[in-house]
């Protein structure tokens, strides 16, 4: 193995006096695996810190406006959120199974579990699309720019815009608006302004948190597709499962974030 670097020119026969999947700069497969794993865990902890900023914004807003947050969660569909939680948990399970399949060299089962994981990821994004489009049509969006220019009679797409809030047409995506109107009708002007501004911030943090999470799901789809492509060549086995292991670790982190997002956004009593 020490001679491996000596005949680095050309991939001749003498080149392969080390395990097939061992890169030259590692001594053993074990060392190579542990290095990759340490790198992945380092990445995962930066991911935790990456999300933490948004969680702190959420906590700050909620701690100071608990009753408005409680009201705001009525606009989120708990059933869809719960279904998405189940979908992600199942995909996390199949990702864990895929690691096991790779370790045991069970290529067809590995492919099957990766495909199920992928389908769950697409299902999650499909449900997310339904939720987002409902909010878009109802005007439950972040407020938008206060000094934006509007033509005569034109309004923003958001109910919470500071100068040109959207007003829906009767009978057309107006259920959420009527709930909002009833909630704010009896308030003093200052209280109503504060409530509408805070609701705008709630939807701002909602879209940022779920949006950043959704971006992670999309990246996960790309990673799993790549793993599936590699798995179909049958290259994974007992001495080569690092890629599957690390891909699954990333996918579990996406699941971990959602485990906290679901109760924090959808289940505020």
């Amino acid at each position: 193995m020490t001679t491996a670097s000596a005949d680095g020119h050309g991939h001749g026969d003498g080149h392969h006096d080390h395990p097939k999947h061992l890169a030259h700069h590692f001594d053993t497969l074990e060392q190579q695996f542990e290095s990759s794993k340490l790198g992945m865990w380092s990445f995962l902890l930066t991911e935790v810190l990456f999300f933490s900023g948004l969680f702190v914004v959420y906590a700050t807003l909620r701690a100071n406006n608990p009753e408005i947050f409680s009201f705001a969660s009525n606009f989120l569909n708990t059933s869809l959120g719960a279904i998405n939680t189940v979908v992600l948990l199942i995909s996390s399970f199949t990702a864990a199974m895929a690691v096991r399949n790779a370790q045991l060299g069970e290529t067809s089962k590995l492919k099957m579990n990766l495909i199920i994981t992928l389908l769950c990821a697409f299902g999650f994004m499909g449900i997310k699309y339904m939720e987002y489009s409902h909010k878009y049509h109802s005007g439950l969006l972040f407020p938008g720019k206060a000094n934006a220019e509007f033509a005569e009679g034109e309004t923003s797409a958001s109910l919470f815009h500071p100068t040109h809030p959207m007003v829906p047409h009767a009978g057309h995506h107006d259920a959420d608006y009527l709930m909002l109107k009833e909630y704010t009708d009896h308030m003093s002007p200052a209280e109503r302004v504060h409530t509408m501004e805070t609701l705008g911030r709630f939807f701002g943090i909602y879209f940022f948190l779920t949006g950043l999470h959704g971006v992670h799901v999309i990246i996960g789809i790309i990673v799993i597709t790549w793993l599936l492509k590699r798995a179909s060549t049958g290259e994974f086995g007992p001495d080569n499962f690092t890629a599957i292991d690390l891909g699954a670790l990333y996918w579990h982190l996406v699941d971990l974030v959602w485990i906290f997002l679901f109760p924090l956004l959808y289940l505020i009593a």
């Binding site: 902890l45 810190l49 100071n64 864990a96």
Partner: protein, 135 residues
């Protein structure tokens, strides 16, 4: 083993949906976070193999979570003192805000065909009425 963990995670999801929609004497958030933490621990220890992995990985991961706790705690301890300023800011602009008045009723009249409710036309952008509250 893995299937058992999935079963526990699904069970805890049902529990958190039930407790989340029940009044629990102001303990809702604490209970929801305890359940979420149990679920996260199951995922991290079993699905992510931390139980069998090098303890340094668990140390690093838990360390990051602890620092998130520090971040949260320090921010929350002093956020209260700005709330009056924020309220005052809202109050100062209340006169010029459309929200100083009660929200207007939805715009009456026939907008499109209601039979195609739920269609994805951009009805949010093409208001030709003046239903928004500009005072």
């Amino acid at each position: 083993m893995l299937a058992g963990v999935l079963g526990a995670l699904l069970f805890l999801t049902v529990v958190t949906v039930i407790t989340g929609s029940t009044y629990l004497w102001g303990m809702d958030l604490a209970i929801a976070m305890v359940i979420a933490t149990i679920k996260a621990t199951l995922v991290a220890t079993i699905f992510m193999h931390l139980r069998w992995d090098k303890s340094f990985h668990a140390f690093a991961f838990i360390g990051s979570v602890l620092f998130v706790g520090v971040f949260l705690a320090y921010t929350l301890t002093d956020t209260g003192q700005y709330q009056n300023d924020i309220r005052k800011y809202s109050a100062d602009r209340a006169a010029s805000s459309p929200f100083a008045q009660p929200l207007p009723a939805p715009i009456a009249g026939h907008h499109g065909d209601h039979a195609e409710d739920g269609h994805s036309d951009d009805e949010n952008h093409d208001h030709d009425g003046d239903g928004h509250a500009d005072h």
